[in-house]
Structure formats: C-alpha cells, structure tokens
Symmetry: C2
Subunit: 234 residues, 2 copies
Amino acid sequence: MEPNSKRPCVVLLSGGLDSATVLAIARHEGFSPHTISFRYGQRHQIEIQRAEKIATALGATSHRVVSVDLGQFGGSALTSMIPVPKHDTAEEISNQIPVTYVPARNTVFLSLGLALAETLGSQDIFVGVNALDYSGYPDCRPEYIAAFEKLANLATKAAVEGTSRIAIHTPLIEWTKAQIIRRGLELGVDYSMTISCYDPDAEGRPCRHCDACLLRMRGFEQNGLVDPSCSSAD
Amino acid sequence: MEPNSKRPCVVLLSGGLDSATVLAIARHEGFSPHTISFRYGQRHQIEIQRAEKIATALGATSHRVVSVDLGQFGGSALTSMIPVPKHDTAEEISNQIPVTYVPARNTVFLSLGLALAETLGSQDIFVGVNALDYSGYPDCRPEYIAAFEKLANLATKAAVEGTSRIAIHTPLIEWTKAQIIRRGLELGVDYSMTISCYDPDAEGRPCRHCDACLLRMRGFEQNGLVDPSCSSAD
C-alpha cells in the first residue's frame, strides 16, 4: 500500500497538460485526489469539459467545477477581447509578463482549493505551477507558493487549533515542459485529452502559435514526439 | 485636499457594521473607494442589498457584486442548514471557532479584492477584520493579514515589476465594537442600513441572539445607544 493511501488531497485541474500530470503524480503518490476546476470567465469553455474528462480518466475521487467571475474585472486576454499574442517558435516568446496573465488568478484558485481542503479535512493541495516554462506569470514562482503555504497555515481552523498543517505541493515547479511530459507519459497520462491553447478554434483545436501551444509542442519535440492534442477528437 | 485624494482603493463590503465603517474611514482618508461584495452562497441575500445601499450612501466610486460559490463546499452554518448558535448575552459567546466560520472565506475575498485592485491599478485594499470582538475566526488575526499582504506583494504583475506595493488596511483590527461604532457615527455612518445578523428573518430583521447581534448590541449599549438596525425599514 502506498504511504499516503486514502489520504485526501485537492488537485487544481485546468484541463491543461501540467495539471493533468500533477493529478497523475498525486494518484501515484497514493493520495485520494479531489479535483477542482474553475469557470472564471475564460473565453474558452472547452478546458472545463476537458478537465472533467481528465478527472475521470485519471481516477479522481471527486470532481467539482466552481464558478468565480474574474472576467468582470477585465485586464486579461484570457477573459477579455484583447488579442492573444502569436509567434512562430517558442524562442520568440518574451520573458515579459504577457497579456494572457489574469490578475490574481492563482491566488483566487489556491484560496478556493484551500476552502475545499478545509471542508474535506485534507492537508494537501497540489497545483501544476511551473517556474521555468511559465510564460512569466508572477504567481508561479517558488517564493509565491511558499508565501501562500504560510498564509494557509494561518487561515484555517485546523491551523489555529494546531491539529494539522497544510502543504502546497508543486511537483512540476522546477521541471522543463519536456520533463513534465516524460513523467506524465510514464504515469499513463493521455495528453490528447488535454488542452493548453490560449486561443483554440470553435472545435477546440489548438492555434499552434500562442505561448502555451509553442511551449508544449517544443516539450513533445524534445522527447522525440509530436504533440497529440491537435489530433484529439473532442 | 486630502493626502490620498483620487487615489483608488478597494473596500470589501459585506453589508455589516464593520465594513460600512471601513468604507467611511477610507473616504475620510481621501481615497476613491471601489467597493466589492460577494454572493458566496450565504443563506441570507439581504446583506448584498444592504451593501449596495451602503456603497451609494457612503459615496463609493464604484460597486461590484462578485459571485463565488463557497456554499457548494458546505461546512458552515452561514451557507448550510446547520443551526446558528444563539445566546442571551454577549458574555456567553465561547472563544472557540464557531460553526458560522466559512472555510477560507477571507482568503477567497481578499484574493478577489486583490484581483480588482490589480485591474484598477490600486495599491490599497481595506477590510473590516477585527481581532477583538471577532467570534474567534482565524482569518481575522493580525498575523494572518500580514501574511496576506506578503503574498499580495509576490502575486501581482506590479509587485514583480517593482512598480508598486500593495497594502492591506485593517483600521478596525484592534478596536472594540464600541470604538468602531463611535468612529462610524463621527463619520456619519447610518447603522440602520447595516445588517450583521447571522440569522435574520424573511424581512431582514436581526435575531438579536446570534454572536453577531449580541456583539453589536453590546457595542451600541457601551456608547449609551440602542442598536438602530432592528428598527430599520428595508
């Protein structure tokens, strides 16, 4: 039996490549994963459908979709009609924070993950943030995650009562996209189910030119593979 | 002209006594306050209507209601059908964390306040937490607020770019309820508009026996006044 067997954990699941890999890792570590996705005003709802499929395929114990309207704040190409930047290769991606950044998104998502963890009596929250191929988002950095973990341990009833300690698990944080994909394939993740594109077409096919597409295509190439997501039937 | 004139700030507004006072303080300090209320699955929607009235009466620059479904997690008497505890006097209130605690609520609300601040280009978030008459909630303590402020300054684009610093203002944190009321009255807050009760009747009249009612009634009494909220027409 695995060391964490039946211990509940929360996994933030976006429908993308990274969080699907994290779910597989949490299962592999023996946790009983409760997945949570967010309807946050994103232009593309297909990621919510994909997250549900991935939760089922990778054996999540429960799956929830929580609505929170970040779109009404505006300020991001993922929730407003600001155009998504396009490039020809991953090398052209700038290391500036891009317009696809959604203000305070990971803080909101982690907070809701914390609310779920607290009601489940879980001490473990898994999130697929990545500080290498991360498109320059501030809320994907290790120091940010450490600050959230500290906050979580002051925020909850269990923390005050001293009965448990929350851990934020970020297994991908120091991995390249190629390493993430390699680990996911070892654990049986079917990446054709995942969608990372910031600007898919109406059928959910990736654009192949946004930062998210280019980074994942390069990750598959570096493993001698072709990204299967463009051939995925939805 | 006040020192902060026209500087935008975000004020978390619940419809209760504390946050109404905070809004008056932010205005008095010369800020241009943008208020935000939450439809979070609370059993009583009347607080959302009251927050809107208060925002108008106290001159908020803008007011938003953001929906986020904490109710689907369960675990609180404020969002589930768990009975709200009742007492005869404020002295009977235990210092245990009560069933009215909503898991991770302030963390979720502050995160959404941070998202709004970031899109407004504001560096100032006001919240009416109180560590004295606070019903024992973990996420009302000074160390919790300090941890959130630290997180906020790692979470945002402006923080990474070094262009601004977020401050979490908690003007009430060390005040008694009596002091809060005294300051609010000086600043012209009409407390008959506010509602603090955890269990109001269908017309929005307070129960007068939950922790929130007893603490505020005692605060008015200590100022030689009667809580006007029971005589408020809605």
